[in-house]
């Protein structure tokens, strides 16, 4: 799998991060991602990410569930094994509505969770490189992809001038891999020693 060079800039405040994202983008660098401890409103717009199509997928899964339920129940109760239940007609739509609804929700929910995991590349055993441990705690970590022409010193200077508290150059695996983290350093223990 491919190793790539990244420049990492860490920010400790949201209001410093936003102008920095804008500056880095206008300077022409490609931001791989910004890792934040919590969901930051408007950051997706600032990064220029496109609208997610997860909800469209959800709609399609839902419709699939509805269709499955209607066709299965109507086939079972009218063709395959018609039963007389309380003298109701075999094609008893009101009685089916709860099941149709449940299957719609089930298909949509399960399908969307699976799609979400696929899009975010999340699965048991899947590992990804962590650019900074504190990204899950209190630091906003901006990761910029380098090309052959990127001057890392210029980029680091740009980040610092925009308020980065910490900058770093890392050569790291850009995708995911199965297995374990080779050099697992425990942030909690480090802090205790210090």
């Amino acid at each position: 799998m491919a190793q790539k060079k990244f420049v990492v800039g860490c920010f400790d405040e949201e209001k410093v991060l936003f102008p920095a994202v804008k500056q880095v983008r206008t300077a022409g660098y490609k931001i791989k991602d910004v890792y934040t401890p919590f969901a930051v409103h408007g950051l997706d717009h600032a990064l220029g990410l496109r609208e997610t199509s997860l909800h469209t997928a959800g709609f399609i899964y839902g419709i699939t569930g509805t269709t499955t339920a209607i066709s299965a129940i109507s086939w079972i109760f009218t063709k395959d094994w018609p039963l007389n239940i309380g003298g109701k007609p075999h094609f008893a739509l009101p009685a089916w509505v709860p099941i149709i609804f449940e299957l719609t929700v089930l298909f949509a929910a399960v399908g969307m969770v699976m799609t979400f995991c696929y899009l975010c590349q999340l699965a048991p055993g899947v590992k990804k490189h962590h650019f900074h441990k504190r990204a899950t705690d209190d630091l906003f970590v901006m990761v910029i992809e380098c090309t052959d022409k990127t001057n890392t010193d210029d980029l680091k200077a740009l980040l610092v001038s925009n308020g980065a508290v910490e900058t770093d150059v890392q050569v790291a695996e850009e995708g995911w891999w199965f297995g374990t983290y080779d050099k697992e350093d425990n942030l909690y223990n480090e802090k205790q020693i210090a």
Partner: protein, 409 residues
């Protein structure tokens, strides 16, 4: 804040239109009252008073829903609605007016012993009827009059108290301690309204005013169903006024983000209404007990069939399909269209709830219904506009206003 238009000036066209609507509607109302309401023919009487009843109850509950919206938002410490809270407040000022009309109509019906509308008013029939005898502790004129008067008086009073505390946010900036105190006081006041709302709209009042028309029949879903119907229509009315004010260049602080959330309420509560509609229908359909199915007999199989299914089409399928997309809820034109459609749909819903029981044989939807509707729409437009013009459009020192301005969906 300097560039914000804080004062609403009522446009001339709005005045002309509302006076015209009140004129036409009032003429229809008066004509109907003297030719039908006071006629000696019982069918004509039932036709007129029933029509007036469902219109006035519908508009009272819809305007009251605006205050309910404000109160539960305050209770949940929601900030996003602060930028247009004066619209909801202005709509809720109609509660005393429409409530007063409702009170007069209901008192007239009960005190004139119109047992063609409320069968339980007929003392002789009740004495011979074991089912009605069992309900006499609840369905009797004394309780009806006292509870109805109390209901409308307390809705108006608690609503008035909520509007008063909102005006305090116009006076001066608040420091943290004052703001905290102010929030707690607002929450206490909204709590009073919410408790009373739960005891009335969410339970007793729909039983008394509407369900007791079919005195033998009952449904445990009925009050929730009525509440859902009036609440979704109330949100549609708020959306409609918000769009109107934006169109006229006011309400600069409210954006498509706010409209989006109002749209979510319209969408979600349309689904909620359908859930209750279906739960009520399916349980009765499944059990198939004659004293319960009687309610749906003329609605599903009889003359009300087209209206019954039109109701489901407008209030469920249209919001489901049209309002599902995010872009639809942020589109002012589409939202205005859907708001009008939902208001009309739930008006039709109230029509079939009341007239479907009073005039089982034939659908009477005609000049009288639309005439009285016109009257209420005219009064609503005029009074909401006046109330909006009477105070600033923004509660500018409200502690949550900034959060509302920054609101993003």
């Amino acid at each position: 804040m300097a560039s914000i238009k804080e004062q609403f000036e009522i446009p001339g066209t709005l005045k002309t239109w509302s006076y015209a609507l009140i004129g036409i509607g009032g003429a229809a109302l008066l004509y109907g009252m003297f030719t039908k309401g006071f006629s000696s023919d019982e069918h004509e009487q039932v036709h007129f008073w029933g029509t007036l009843m469902y219109n006035t109850i519908f508009w009272t509950l819809v305007t009251n829903a605006a205050m309910f919206f404000l109160c539960f938002s305050t209770m949940a410490m929601a900030a996003w609605m602060q930028s247009f809270r004066r619209i909801a407040e202005a709509i809720s000022t109609l509660v005393p007016i429409f409530g007063g009309i409702t009170l007069m109509v209901l008192l007239y019906v009960v005190l004139s012993h119109n047992h063609h509308i409320y069968h339980w008013l007929d003392a002789e029939a009740v004495a011979k009827d074991p089912i009605l005898k069992g309900k006499v502790g609840f369905l009797n004129p004394t309780f009806f009059v006292i509870w109805t008067t109390l209901t409308i008086a307390l809705w108006s009073y608690f609503g008035y108290r909520m509007r008063q505390i909102s005006l305090e946010a116009d006076v001066a900036p608040m420091d943290a301690a004052t703001a905290h105190k102010y929030n707690v006081r607002s929450m206490v006041r909204s709590g009073f309204f919410l408790v009373w709302f739960g005891l009335t709209v969410a339970s007793t009042v729909p039983w008394l005013w509407l369900m007791s028309i079919d005195a033998h029949w009952y449904s445990t879903m009925y009050s929730w169903y009525t509440f859902a119907s009036s609440f979704v229509a109330g949100m549609a009315l708020i959306a409609l006024w918000l769009i109107y004010m934006k169109n006229k260049g006011y309400m600069e602080l409210s954006t498509s983000e706010h409209l989006h959330d109002v749209g979510k309420f319209m969408f979600a509560f349309s689904i909620f209404w359908t859930y209750l509609w279906f739960s009520q229908y399916m349980l009765i359909w499944y059990a198939n007990i004659p004293e319960e199915t009687i309610y749906f007999k003329n609605r599903v199989q009889g003359s009300y069939k087209p209206i019954f299914f039109l109701n489901l089409f407008i209030n469920f399928l249209c919001p489901l399909i049209i309002l599902m997309k995010r872009s639809a809820k942020r589109n002012f034109t589409l939202m205005a269209f859907m708001a009008v459609l939902i208001l009309f749909g739930h008006w039709i819903d109230f029509y079939q709830m009341v007239m479907g029981s009073l005039m089982k044989e034939h659908v009477s939807l005609g000049w009288l219904d639309f005439g009285i509707l016109t009257f209420f729409v005219g009064v609503m437009i005029l009074m909401v506009a006046r109330s909006l013009a009477s105070k600033p459009l923004i509660a500018k020192y409200h502690p949550f206003l900034k959060e509302s301005i920054l609101h993003q969906v």
